[in-house]
Symmetry: C2
DNA sequence: GAGTGGTCTAGACCACGGC
DNA sequence: CCGTGGTCTAGACCACTCA
């Protein structure tokens, strides 16, 4: 019959495109360099813009590209290793990498958090907001839920509600003496609120780190931190080794 | 003028759709139930299929939906907590949750792995493939890179190359006595090869866990494990607590 | 205002699973 | 075989950034 279906490779175009672009990024582009715009690229490869965009989305997901509306598509630097370390409670940051208390408000813990806190779904807690900056870029936004019973040292009036109160809660928490932490990591998408702080669009992929802080066997606080998945590599230094932080994704010399 | 642009909310349609669908999933659908097909759903909401798909993709990314070509879209069960635990070296799995050695072949470590192994980019290593199954579902595929110098007990001929040889390498490795591990977690997309083992399409989002195993201060092996990001929540039990494994994402009673 | 990426449409065909 | 989700097209308009 006249069916000219000779191509035995049903590999999607966008997948092939992604491979080609990925190799081009390695060999022909420097970090920070801006690519041709999507319309030009699509024309150059002979595909529709939507198809090209599918390839770019994948590359952005893998942290190889960075796209900003009104600006363009740039080659992303290697992912930054951020330590999801020991107590994490506002410890003196190593240089330019630390948590910053933003504010503190009374509120109700969402159901999944309440479950971890062993409290009723609607129970009132202190909600501390913090932001983490690494190498000058925002990498994470955190909501820390602290039941009033964990920090009895504070009047639970709604009083100051600012960064200073946030620091006060953290101080009280530290004084409890934390024995350990349970952590989990999963993929999520940035809520509109987080997206703003992370300088991303809503729905951007994030790594959600949920931490349960323990003191004498009881859960005294729960933290939900969302890290930018495109720019971050979370590191867990079980041996205290810092060397791991470099060189992953580094080009072999 | 006749411009009837009264809507002050430029919230994308797919974002709104996602919210609506998400609420519907909570209230009107049971786990495993299949949704109407995409064409019907799109018509029902008065949007193009591409727009509806954008919403579905987000929900799938968040682990709320599961889509399979030729079958349909189903409501996903809550993410399964998988422990990325202590030595991890083929320890007797807790019930139905364990690593399974697949095979072992000689090969060259890719550049980033070679860097972690402190070896030349092209150096020959044993490449052990393992698969992890949890609750009957494949959740992770792993490539374990072991330099020949770490396991001198084996003749480095390409001999058996099967699951038995893989187990032999693991046994030798365990006999070294591992002091500790450095780990990192980042977002990636499944290579065609991994995708097959994980029962997903190539490019599917995965959590890439890179582990460096140490013995007496030296790196003796490097593992790159890719976990299905849609179905898995990685847990790190610093305190050995297992309770954390349940109840995240559980509906409050 | 020009140029960028982000959203959206209304089609089409293909690959796969199950009947 | 039919129905499903997956890929792809060729347009359009919008929101944003920056000169």
């Amino acid at each position: 019959m006249g069916t000219t279906q000779l191509q035995a490779a049903p590999e999607p175009k966008y997948w092939h495109l992604k491979t080609v672009l990925s190799e081009a990024l390695d060999s022909e582009f420097a970090v920070g360099e801006i690519l041709p715009n999507e319309r030009d690229l699509a024309a150059r490869f002979g595909v529709a813009r939507a198809t090209l965009r599918q390839a770019l989305e994948q590359l952005e997901l893998e942290g190889r590209l960075q796209r900003r509306r009104g600006v363009g598509t740039t080659v992303a630097p290697p992912r930054v290793g951020v330590a999801v370390a020991a107590t994490g409670q506002d410890r003196p940051g190593a240089g330019s990498d630390a948590w910053q208390a933003v504010d503190c408000a009374p509120g109700a813990a969402p159901a999944p958090v309440a479950a971890l806190l062993d409290s009723a779904p609607g129970a009132q807690v202190h909600v501390v907001r913090r932001t983490r900056v690494s190498h000058g870029q925002p990498v994470a936004a955190e909501l820390l839920y602290v039941p009033g019973s964990s920090v009895p040292g504070l009047g639970d009036a709604e009083a100051p509600c600012g960064a200073s109160r946030a620091r006060a809660v953290l101080r009280e928490l530290r004084r409890l003496g934390l024995d350990g932490e349970d952590r989990s990591v999963e993929l999520g998408s940035a809520r509109a609120e987080d997206a703003k702080e992370l300088d991303r669009l809503p729905g951007a992929p994030v790594l959600v780190v949920t931490t349960r802080y323990l003191s004498r066997g009881a859960t005294v606080a729960v933290s939900v931190a969302t890290y930018r998945a495109d720019t971050c590599r979370l590191t867990f230094g079980d041996t205290g080794g810092v060397e791991f932080d470099r060189s992953l994704h580094a080009q072999a010399s």
